[in-house]
């Protein structure tokens, strides 16, 4: 099953490689990993999307907790949470009719952030699934470039993950 793990880690040079190294060394799956500092500069928040049986997810969580740089590991699947991913996509504007594109973009609540040199670049924030179905609506030969960030997640309501 797919799990989203949310981590608080020391904002230190080695932390990312320790964590990614753990996944490769122990043959754990890693679908995406995002990381950035939090409001406290000494801490980073990391979101890891992984898949595995309950037993494997338990091992992943324990092994992550064991790393000296890791302060907290939360499996968001155990709470109500929301996940978001950012897509930046550059299209060939010579191939697309404006009304056609406008309707797809507005259906998905995307934003055109650049329109120049016969290209159109759209920004879209949603779950990975919605981003997938957006991309599916587009013809292959319209697409110049796809850039996705991987998933960030946060628990809903009163549940706060803090040091």
């Amino acid at each position: 099953m797919r799990h989203i793990l949310s981590l608080l880690v020391e904002n230190e040079a080695g932390a990312l490689s320790r964590i990614s190294g753990l996944f490769s060394a122990r043959a754990f799956n890693i679908e995406s990993l995002t990381v950035a500092p939090t409001e406290d500069e000494s801490l980073s928040r990391m979101t890891i999307v992984t898949t595995g049986s309950d037993q494997i997810i338990e091992q992943i969580t324990k092994q992550l907790n064991k790393l000296v740089d890791v302060i907290k590991v939360i499996d968001l699947n155990e709470r109500n949470y929301i996940e978001r991913e950012l897509l930046l996509i550059k299209l060939d504007s010579t191939k697309i009719g404006t009304p056609q594109l406008e309707s797809i973009v507005s259906e998905f609540k995307g934003v055109v952030i650049d329109d120049s040199d016969n290209t159109i670049t759209i920004e879209l924030i949603n779950t990975g699934e919605v981003l997938d179905s957006f991309i599916d609506k587009l013809e292959k030969d319209w697409i110049f470039e796809v850039v996705r960030t991987g998933v960030s997640g946060i628990a809903l309501g009163a549940s706060v993950i803090k040091y």
């Binding site: 880690v9 020391e10 000296v68």
Partner: protein
Amino acid sequence: METNEKLRGADIFVRSLIDEGVTHLFGYPGGAVLHIYDALYKQQEINHILVRHEQGATHAADGYARATGKPGVVLVTSGPGVTNAITGIATAYMDSIPLVVFSGQVITSMIGNDAFQEVDAIGISRPCVKHNFLVKDVKDLASTIKKAFYVAMSGRPGPVLVDIPKDVTADMCDYSYPKDIEMRSYRPVTKGHPGQIKRAIKMLMSAKKPMVYTGGGVILSDAHEELTFMTQKLGYPITNTLMGLGGYPATDKQFLGMLGMHGTYEANMAMHHCDVLLAIGARFDDRVTGDLEKFCPYARIIHIDVDPASIAKNVPVDIPIVGDVKSVLSDINKSLESQLHKIDKEAIALWWNQIHEWQKMDCLRFDRQSEKIKPQHVIETLYNLTNGDAYVTSDVGQHQMWAAQFYKFNKPRRWINSGGLGTMGFGLPAAMGVKVAHPDDTVVCISGEASLVMCIQELSTCLQYGLPVKIILLNNRYMGMVRQWQEFFYDKRYSHSYMDALPDFTKLAESFGHVGLRVEKSSDVKGALEEGLAMTDRLVLMNFITDQTENVYPMIAAGKGQHEMHLTPERELA
């Protein structure tokens, strides 16, 4: 602890070690650590032991740590110095041994430039250390050293590497060594959960076929007394892993011997048939469990370990207890007495009857009439002559298994071997480290001719520092353990397992300034051992020319269950 004294990085390094209580440092110099070596030259408190290869330094520090419970400390230079140390670091990591390894690094401004003798020590060591640090500023040096020792020694112990660029050892800064250390991201649990402990005791009382299975964690947390007390109160059978030997007195009647691939028939059968398994400081390694599908099919399992990640990693557990083994066992012992009356004495008596039947198999029997030297005979004789009181290190192979089977360890920290990584070359330098720690005790290295030469250079170190260890070489002119597998599983195609062109070990020992003995006849074994052991101030290499065809039994082949052991060919199980 001094405060506000301006010192050079190299002196801060030395002062920090002294303030940490370090008395012995195993090392090898080079460009990146020359400032530190200069600082070492000017002081008396720390004894530096100059090894002959950095692998030897790590194994020696490892042996020192295993024999004392104190951290082993290593100093190596950048580049090849630290790459040579990696095997020893990985060895310590697999067996959870506390080492603090300091490596020199090129100057901060050169890092990443492929400078002379630069390697990414942090990157190379990452997968085989508990943690590592790069010290970029002399201001952080003392506190990083404090953290390194704290991390290495606490929780589940392990090696920690500290990489120190050369300029950091030249820079000046105020020195004060921190008293305590707080790391918000590292807080190992020590105390077991009282509710879980209660449930565990209840389950133990309900057992009809109980079994206690303990590993290196008992040794690491110095919990042998608590373990012995509990087990004897319970009256239950107990087995130790290869790493756990000495955690429970091997000559006690409740002890069933080692378990696992080359464990005893009775230990493995009792594991297979038990209904409650109490696992303590053990990690259900594949050499212990055999085929996981067939492992302990009837058992409810209690598992005590300081590392939560060790619990339910390979085998599902009914009652996990996270905590330091010593603390959890003493908590159990506090509430045990009042519960003992609940034990089903009749069932336990029947269970012992069954176990005594298994013991009649006499699974460690070997040919005592042989004129050729049987390796088992050598170790048994050694055991008798040393009253089971020697510190015994070993290398890796058949000799290691025979040592584990035939030397009965009644005390912890006496049996020192590379169980997890299985590093050939470990034995001699480890013995050296043990001898440094316990100069007045008998320290024996049991080795094979293939393993021994892997770190033979350390014979020099032994001479220089007066470390008269005894080397028991079980010389079968084969990589015996490889040969055994080839005999069993590759139709006797002995591919590259023959040790051709061996040195004359007597002359070899002599050329290093030591004593060599060659023993060829079974009837000479005892005399030779007596002679070698009597030379207490000399390193003696006793070269026993053993029966080449001898195999280690019992044996659980890969993919088999614990109840599917091979015994010696003439009495193979149905």
